[in-house]
Subunit: 343 residues, 2 copies
């Protein structure tokens, strides 16, 4: 099968005005990639009209008559938007016509639809959302779940750890990712019963590199490769990260824009600030994976620009190349039989 | 009664080497303040020996023979360290010999001891920890609970909102602080049952300025004055904030230290970076309050330096001047009768 990714071209704040340029950019970078734009056929084809036949061979259009709005309830999207660009893109994965799909649409609707259409992998009770965040070591730390699962059991946290471990192995080429459980202290007596029980399950699995409890600041230290938590805590932590970064960036801009002298300093510092921004540029971390499904679904930030959206497509490509879903199934089966042996 | 604050002089990473200079600094700023250094009398007196009689009138020493270590379990401190500087400082508040106390010691032990010695206010089931964080409006946002209560009920969240509202009124001179409940979406259908139920309780209380759900990034936007959450989520959010800020600061330093040119730019930008650092200097936000007790107890960061510790003492002074504990009782009683009337 050729490497083919379906793109929900009507999603996010900018729709096709971001998705098409991102698609063109990534096609110029990855030779054997085919992309399918899913959405309003007439609109998309007219937007592609000035493209060469060679490009159009690898960038085709698949019609979908509806679109999921950012404020649509998941249940509403599921029931009433069966011809949405989001749903049709996921259908293409289900039908084997695409190996993955990317959408910048409403997370709740995307998760519900993906779960309904693709189903979860054997051994996985609940899919989870994972993304990478930058850390001080110049690498990244994967964090899950980011909001799909508000109430979780220790077993769910265990499954998240397995999925996070597999994804990080695949995406970051790490042979044995270090897994930490997010808690409010590193001592074994700290935390709620769920994390304590999950810690026991993880400690009993020799082939998972579980290193213990970590705290919120450890996400950015690079002392673990994967941080596991429930979706409520993970979502708050992710949004807190965005909030702090935005506030600091706001004050940096304000400080360098006060008077002639500070503007001169800004000019002098420009290359440094650019370099700095590149290191922790949130666009480079765009592309959260919906893990645990029988198919690859990537959620782009709704406000993603062209560069950010290309990162989401790249995430999809890597996961296809590394065959993440079947690796998750395989490793989970091994771990569960390992656990049974020990018990 | 004179304005008198007891300082746990043996606490934190630096003990009296930070507490004494901070005490001297604040005494020079606030005329009618009396401070009691609690700890090893011989050591503290020798460290004060070169001070004038006039200073020593307002900076006295109260002996305590033990000290709580950073890794002492709360239960161990409570049972076996009855003569610790922490416990004795809290006892002084209980006995009315001090109006507040400040400690940089172990949070768990401080909360357990304060709760045991001082007891909670009528109507408060559980004390909570609150601190201020900087926001983009140039003001601060108070967040609670930060780790005292891992599992909470909607009623607890309601009480946290009341306590946070009173503290913010007192400390920030805000007549009607805006209260937000931390959630993973702003829509009413989002979140777990606890936050949904707490939202109902808060909506039914006209004299609480409840504005709705907020997300992690809203802490830093300044759209609410108080953010209410359980202690697990609050602690993760606080530590995440610290982690992101440290990572950005690490990359700023690294970027400005790469070569001759970047070092020149750093020199040019120095006043701007200083100004920026001042705006979001975590030392200015040092001093978390243990709210809901029959007395004022302030927790300083363990690693606090002299400047940071003075901010913790200032927090204590303001809470004494505004009589925060009795205001909490008073407003809580009003709210509960208001709620009963509505029901």
């Amino acid at each position: 099968m050729t490497l083919c990714v379906a793109l929900d071209a009507m999603s996010g704040d900018h729709g096709s005005s971001v998705v098409i340029p991102a698609a063109l950019k990534i096609l110029s970078e990855i030779d054997d990639l085919h992309l399918i734009l899913v959405g309003d056929e007439k609109k998309l084809k007219s937007e592609l009209s000035h493209q060469s036949a060679k490009v159009k061979q690898r960038l085709t259009v698949h019609h979908a008559g509806q679109q999921v709005e950012m404020d649509d309830l998941a249940s509403h999207a599921l029931r009433n938007k069966k011809d949405s660009s989001m749903r049709v893109a996921i259908n293409l994965v289900k039908e084997g016509k695409a190996s993955a799909c990317v959408s910048a649409g409403n997370t709740g609707a995307l998760m519900a639809t993906a779960r309904y259409v693709l189903k979860t992998l054997p051994g996985i009770d609940r899919p989870a959302i994972i993304t990478a965040l930058p850390n001080m070591q110049g690498h990244s730390t994967h964090v899950l779940d980011l909001g799909a699962n508000i109430e979780v059991s220790p077993e769910h946290l265990f499954q998240f750890a397995v999925m996070g471990s597999v994804l990080t192995q695949a995406v970051d080429n790490l042979p044995n990712p270090r897994i930490g459980l997010l808690n409010i202290g590193q001592e074994e007596i700290k935390g709620n019963e769920r994390v304590k029980e999950a810690a026991k399950l993880l400690s009993k699995s020799p082939s998972i590199n579980y290193v213990g409890f970590v705290e919120g600041d450890d996400i950015f230290k690079g002392i673990v490769d994967v941080v596991v938590c429930d979706g409520f805590v993970g979502n708050v932590s992710l949004k807190t990260t965005e909030g702090v970064a935005k506030m600091i960036s706001h004050y940096v801009k304000q400080s360098f824009n006060q008077n002639l002298w500070t503007r001169f300093a800004a000019l002098v510092s420009l290359p440094i600030i650019k370099n700095l921004r590149q290191k922790i540029d949130p666009r480079r971390y765009n592309g959260a994976s919906l893990l645990g499904l029988r198919g690859i679904v990537i959620k782009s930030h709704g406000g993603a620009d062209v560069l950010a959206f290309t990162y989401a497509i790249k995430e999809a490509v890597v996961e296809v190349q590394k065959n993440v879903p079947s690796q998750i199934s395989h490793i989970l089966a091994t771990l569960l039989s390992e656990r049974r042996r020990i018990e």
